[in-house]
């Protein structure tokens, strides 16, 4: 379970101070599929970064499956991330110099998995997202939809507890977007917690809960009608 209490995040430069998040409190249960919505600049990506331990809050506490990670060092955060979190990004963020299977493999490289096991699990993940036939291709050789599927495979291959998706369909057309959403839903059904930032009401409706942010604060929460 993910528990945020009074989380605040301030970005400071020499001259400007920006309050990205302000007193955000939130609980996400294991296995939930949560959508986060809001206009540009409302703090969605910041919230996701904090949830995903890519960034630390300026104030408040964050309990990640019972661990208080709010004041963890970078090294400690890395350890937790390695064990439990997968990411899917709007701009795919594949490594241009690695092939599809090598890109997916990166998620296992730092988890002490043997080469043999890595190959097996990568194969399985690629199969699951339907992209095995392009295993040796480079990202530049794939369409947007295909690249995002590789990104999903990379997020899945380590069997994380949480998948955080930041506008996963933002750069995709409807057909590809639908395909990615289907993957995420199936992942959530299998028991992984999924938190997704999205602009699309249609896709948000597929989640079990939608949280709306405005100016760094949660303004509403909607549960999916059962």
């Amino acid at each position: 379970m993910l528990k945020l209490e009074q989380i605040g995040k301030v970005y400071r430069t020499t001259e400007v101070e920006t309050q990205a998040l302000s007193a955000v409190s939130l609980e996400i249960n294991a296995g939930e599929f949560v959508a986060v919505m809001g206009p540009s600049g409302c703090g969605k990506s910041t919230l996701l970064n904090i949830l995903g331990l890519l960034d630390t809050p300026s104030s408040g506490t964050y309990q990640f499956f019972g661990e208080n990670v709010s004041s963890y060092s970078e090294a400690q955060l890395t350890a937790v991330r390695r064990a439990a979190i997968g990411f899917v990004f709007q701009s795919f963020n594949l490594i241009d110099d690695l092939s599809v299977e090598e890109n997916v493999e990166v998620a296992l490289l730092y988890r002490g998995v043997s080469a043999k096991d890595r190959r097996a699990r990568v194969s399985e993940a690629l199969e699951r997202v339907g992209i095995s036939h392009r295993a040796r291709h480079l990202p530049q050789q794939l369409s947007g939809g295909q690249q995002q599927r590789v990104a999903v495979a990379r997020a899945l291959v380590s069997n994380p507890k949480v998948i955080l998706a930041d506008e996963p369909t933002g750069n995709l057309d409807t057909a590809n977007g639908n395909a990615v959403m289907e993957l995420l839903i199936s992942v959530a059904k299998a028991g992984t917690t999924v938190v997704m930032v999205t602009h699309s009401l249609t896709y948000a409706a597929l989640a079990s809960r939608t949280i709306k942010l405005l100016d760094g604060k949660i303004v509403s929460e909607t549960l999916l009608a059962a």
């Binding site: 970064n49 890519l54 241009d96 090598e102 490289l109 730092y110």
Partner: protein
Amino acid sequence: MLRNYLAAALRNLLRNKLVSIINIGGLSLGFAAAILIGLYLRYQLSYESFLPGHEQVYRLSMTVHRPGTTPEVHDGADFFMADKLKLEYPEIEMIARITGHFPSVRRGNLEFHENVFSADPDFFRIMPFPTLAGNLATALDAPDGLVITRSYAQKYFGDENPIGQTLEFDRDEIFRVLAVIEDLPGNTHFNFRMVASNKAKFSALRSVEELRNRPGVFIPGAPTYFRLRAGATPAHLEADGPNFLKRHYWQQLGTTAKLDIYPLTRVHLTPPGRWPIPTNVNPRTLTALGLVGLLVILIAAINFVNLMTARASQRAVEVGVRKSAGAKRSQLVAQFLGEAFIYVLAAMLIAAALVELALPTFNTMLSVDDEMYQPATVTFQYWREPMLAGALLLGAIIVGLLAGAYPAFVMSSMRPANALHGGFAASGTARVRQWLVVTQLAILIALLVATAVIHRQTAFALNEGLRISKEQVLLVFNAKQTPSEALKEAFARIPGVSGVTSAAAAPTNYDNNAAFFHAEGGTPVLLQFSAVDFNFFEFYRLEPIAGRLPSRGFGTDQFLFQDPNHHASFWMNEAAVRALGMKSPIAAIGQTLTPDWPKVLTRPASITIAGVMPDIPIDSMRTEIQPVVYFVAPDFARIVSIRLRGGQIPETMDAIEEVWKRLGEPRPISRLFLDHYYNRMYNDILQQRRVLGSLCGVSVFLAGLGLFGLSIYTAQRRTKEIGIRKVMGASTADVMRLLLWAFSKPVFWASLIAWPTAAWLMNRWLQGFVYRVDLGWWLLPLASLLALAIALATVSVHSYLVAREKPAGALRYQ
């Protein structure tokens, strides 16, 4: 794991081919230059190491410093010192002298003038050179014994066995070849091809014997080598040197002399003496070269660091992804360091290939352009020398670590959030890169200044500083006879000859003769002798500062030896005027000199100063001009100087040879162009100039390469900015100005660093010359301008292409 890293590294390399080539290419060039310098330094430190037992061998020479004059550094000891030392110092196992001569050598139809040495019998026992035939150790025991090298055996005997066969010297003496040694390598200060025993008639070792046991004789002309007994050191001899000199040379030298004892392996690094050996090197030069080698690597490494760091923004996504997948910082550092090593190792391999290609040319650059001296033989055989291969690997590792560390730390420090959401700002690194470029440019400017100063000093030494007119002058050497007037007149009549004169020594050398004189009421001063012909000064276009030139119209002008009734006129140089304590050159005219010679020598009735000539630098710009006294004695003037008119030199040379055959000595002509003579004397600076010039060229290229690579990245990074400016109305020229200004600022800062450094260093270098050019302060801004021009030239092409692009293209990139 490794496969993943390697795949990323190699594909990234291929994706950015141009910059990768620049990166690896630049580093290879830097490595190659540094390797060549390293090989050269190793070569210099390996002199004589091919001789077994060289650790116990030393060379003896002397420095004499009379009060009021500058020290005379001799390359040898007094001729009779060796025997005295052997008697008094039991730690000396063996001692031997060696002297050089130019007899003619004949076998059948072959006859040439050769540089032949003669040595005491122990010489080859002290230094057992690699022998091919015969018994080297005993070869010089026989009075007619001769040792020759392999190529000379080939020259005179072809494929026949030379042992026991004979050669005729000076058409007078027969010698038997009793041993053949291997040709000498380049890393030795010896340059003999033939060595005869000390009983040869042409040998000074024999002719001085008649002066043995004469009181008051001091002839410091014999290079002397000795071997110490096993386990002994020269410490006692060095400490007792002054006492030894007091015991045996007090009358001649007083306290003005000291013994110089050098280990054999360092003889080629000793300060230049009266007769500087062209292959000698100033140890300071070696240090300077080592430093420059490091600087070149520094420039190449800076390029490397800059380009790798500039790439950071390209790898931001990868770093973010790997970090979010759980990579520790240390793992990322290891990955990027590993990549750096791949580049560095690739560069080292290419460098090794470049060095092998360049080695023959390099050896030519280092060799003296004179067949009398062996060519340089620097080798690069890393497959046979594990130490060398190890050193190359170690060098690659060190450079890889140092140069790779910064980019690795920069890239691994990226915060995943920043890296994944819009790229890496890298503001801190831009500063570091700027300062790296400034350092590079500072090194470049300093090198440009250094090269320019060395060039100016060399040109001065070889031309202006000589103060004599040396164009197209040929020296013709006579060994025994004085050149007759008929010979000189015949030379003068050749159409291609514009003047002929003669002197006892080459024009800016004095004979190995000196004697004491005093002016009226003054103290005795040692003055060097130089016997000249009547027209010597006119030939070399020297005008008297006071008094007149020699003339046949004056009976006193020609010096008559051994005539106590003769009133002689002498000429002297400015240094002699000062040494004798006379007020001025004009005041010297008409004054008399009294010789303080040993009683055995007849003095003339009187010696009067008839003229004072300008100082001309003797031997080298490094030593101060000695006081010289000239007297007209054509009978002793054995070296003929012939000035050739421009054009048709080959015909003139043939004519000269023909005249020689008719009227000269009965042996082949022995001649040398005066230019050649000076090039030999200044060989070390000429070499320095060549090597430094090449290094400067390499540095310029590397710096330009680095700037070019950087400009690619800068333009990429500023693409969005450029697009916006163009949308706002900036022209291509405006954008170019913007980009070029970014590369001009570093030149300003670099100048602030380079100017004082270069000025101080080059001033110190110039201090090593008594006669020198001034630093030339205008060189400093000139070097900076040149660096600026190079910087702008390298980046302008790329900047133009970028500035020219349509704004939409630039903005769409976002």
